[in-house]
């Protein structure tokens, strides 16, 4: 049959890739005991933070890279998730099984509202209006003294998670890893399902999709909500990590950082957000010890990526691994 073995160009799924992904997951899971054996316990927490940002960047990459919507207000969903957990904790709701889904749902609902309005515009206007909404939410939160204003809202302790103690850095790391892995698996399924095919078509040729009978905006809105929901989960994790829902999480520079992670990692590739977050945070970690001007190195890195690996670190690595390796 003619269609046998045919795959979309992006998000290629193969047994070999699944094997690699599983090996990477095992290696990442082995990191905390390894670091502890080396006496570098502190870095378990650093690594957990990287995974959380990887989740946030992945969720943005789904909107930007797969949905084709350059959104500049992702901090709103990230921050909303963080505040949801902190506010619920303040009222005595400390279970992760309640607070985290609530955080994701709140961020998703927010994405539904912001998306429904913003998707009436395109291109630069879409960038500006998503930025404007995120900034409105930022100013709302710093003006609400009840929720900490400028100082943010602290958490007394990490969420409770059944019999597991998230106060243990290794346990928290594993939970963050599980969230990231689950999100990547989910997005990979979506990319290959009917919905993902539609998004791919919209990214390629929006007007043609309308002429095939697709209500384009409805699919873009759904994509925006999925991305926002996952960002809310990342926000719930980051609030737990730093024991604080900080207004900085809502600031536009946070949206910018996430966008840079996506661009460095690889727009529209499944692991782009992960690769970008890792690259940026590792760089920050390595260079802040050397110089306070580490952003200069970040600028250089961006230039290198744009000129030498325009499809991002993930695609570049994929190219290295698959050279001569795949059929």
């Amino acid at each position: 049959m003619a269609g046998e073995g045919m795959k979309s160009a992006l998000y290629r799924q193969s047994a070999r890739r699944r094997g690699l992904a599983f090996a990477a997951l095992l290696a990442l899971a082995a990191l905390p005991p390894l670091l502890q054996a080396l006496g570098q316990d502190f870095y378990v927490s650093v690594a957990a933070r990287m995974l959380i940002f990887a989740l946030a960047a992945t969720s943005l990459n789904f909107i930007v890279g797969f949905g084709g919507l350059v959104a500049f207000g992702h901090a709103a969903f990230f921050g909303a998730g963080a505040y949801a957990v902190a506010i619920l904790a303040e009222r005595g709701v400390t279970s992760a099984f309640v607070a985290w889904p609530a955080a994701a749902a709140l961020a998703g609902g927010l994405a539904l509202l912001i998306g429904a309005i913003s998707l009436r515009t395109r291109g630069v206007y879409f960038i500006m209006i998503t930025l404007a909404f995120a900034q409105m939410i930022y100013y709302l939160f710093i003006s609400l003294k009840a929720w900490g204003g400028d100082d943010g809202l602290p958490l007394m302790a990490r969420s409770t998670f059944g019999p597991f103690d998230l106060g243990n850095d290794a346990t928290f790391y594993w939970v963050a890893l599980a969230c990231l892995a689950a999100a990547l698996f989910l997005l990979d399924r979506i990319a290959h399902a009917r919905f993902g095919r539609v998004l791919q078509g919209i990214r390629e040729n929006e007007s043609r999709m309308a002429a095939l009978g697709y209500p384009v905006a409805a699919y873009q809105l759904a994509c925006f909500v999925i991305g926002g929901t996952l960002a809310g989960l990342a926000g719930a994790l980051i609030a737990n990590h730093s024991l604080l829902a900080s207004p900085n999480l809502l600031h536009w520079t946070q949206s910018g950082t996430l966008l840079v992670m996506v661009i460095v990692g690889g727009v529209g590739t499944l692991y782009g957000g992960f690769a970008g977050a890792l690259t940026l945070l590792l760089l920050e970690e390595l260079l802040t010890g050397v110089t306070v001007h580490w952003h200069a190195a970040l600028g250089l890195l961006l230039l290198v990526v744009v000129f030498r690996a325009p499809r991002g670190v993930a695609a570049w690595l994929h190219g290295l691994f698959s050279r001569g390796g795949t059929k």
């Binding site: 979309s8 160009a9 791919q200 697709y214 209500p215 384009v216």
Partner: protein, 257 residues
């Protein structure tokens, strides 16, 4: 085919459209009968493509109404008109350049699925949906692209991309197909193949055809409408149109009249 006997599938009444001070269409009224091949001709800039835009929903007219199968569709967005059975092709090839030919048509077939969730399905891999893949392959065969399934659309020859574009429109299973210069930019052999294809399609679906190739128009059309300067100057059988003095003057050139 005899257009007079069947009901009108498409009724256009007093449609106007202007861009700034330019009147692209002035009170155009037109009826296309179910089952006919209706050609729309006129000099460059006459408003043919603008009329196709109003009918397909790419644009909305400033005045007038468009009725399709008895329903007023004047204000409906494009995707809603496609769902009711109006499909179109473009003057400039408009396909998904980076997807394979098969994936292109599979998208069109998938767009028609109204089973649970439609295209809001997030889990099952679409590549494994045999019904969609097989139907897409069948449409490719229908337009003469069998064997080209796995070729990326952007690297198909120009004529093949035009054929693919037809397959995309057909796979939405339209009752009315709006073809905007389907032979634009084609060599004589490719054109001949597309004319044969359109002849074949004309027996299955109602066609409104915009075309500059007069040989093709007179060979294919049951009736012809002539648009000049945004006004419809006549709708008639091909021989009558050929003899119409105003048409000769405005369009065919009256040097030999």
């Amino acid at each position: 085919m005899n257009g007079e006997k069947s009901a009108d599938l498409l009724e256009v009444a007093g449609v106007s459209r202007h861009f700034g001070g330019v009147h692209a269409l002035s009170e155009v009224s037109l009826a296309v009968a179910e089952g006919e091949v209706h050609a729309l001709i006129g000099p460059n800039g006459a408003g043919k493509t603008t009329l196709i835009h109003q009918l397909s929903g790419a644009q909305t007219p400033d005045a007038g109404t468009i009725r399709f199968a008895g329903e007023d569709v004047t204000r409906l967005p494009m995707h809603a008109r496609v769902a009711r059975g109006i499909a179109r092709s473009w003057q400039v090839t408009n396909v998904f350049g980076r997807l394979t030919a098969l994936d292109n048509v599979a998208l069109a077939v998938q767009g028609r699925q109204r089973d649970w969730g439609g295209s809001f399905r997030f889990w099952a891999p679409v590549d494994k949906e045999r019904a969609i893949v097989d139907e897409a392959a069948a449409w490719l065969a229908e337009v003469g692209l069998a064997g080209r399934e796995s070729t990326v659309a952007g690297s198909l020859a120009h004529g093949e991309q035009r054929q693919l574009e037809l397959a995309l429109a057909l796979a939405t299973k339209p009752r009315l197909l709006l073809l905007d210069e389907p032979m634009a930019g084609m060599g004589p052999e490719e054109s001949e193949r597309v004319v044969e294809l359109i002849e074949h399609l004309g027996r299955k679906v109602t066609l409104l055809l915009v075309e500059h190739d007069m040989d093709a128009v007179f060979r294919l059309a049951d009736r012809i409408s002539v648009l000049v300067g945004g006004r419809l100057i006549c709708t008639d059988l091909p021989d009558a149109v050929r003899a119409h003095p105003e048409v000769r003057k405005a369009y065919l050139g009256d040097a030999d009249a």
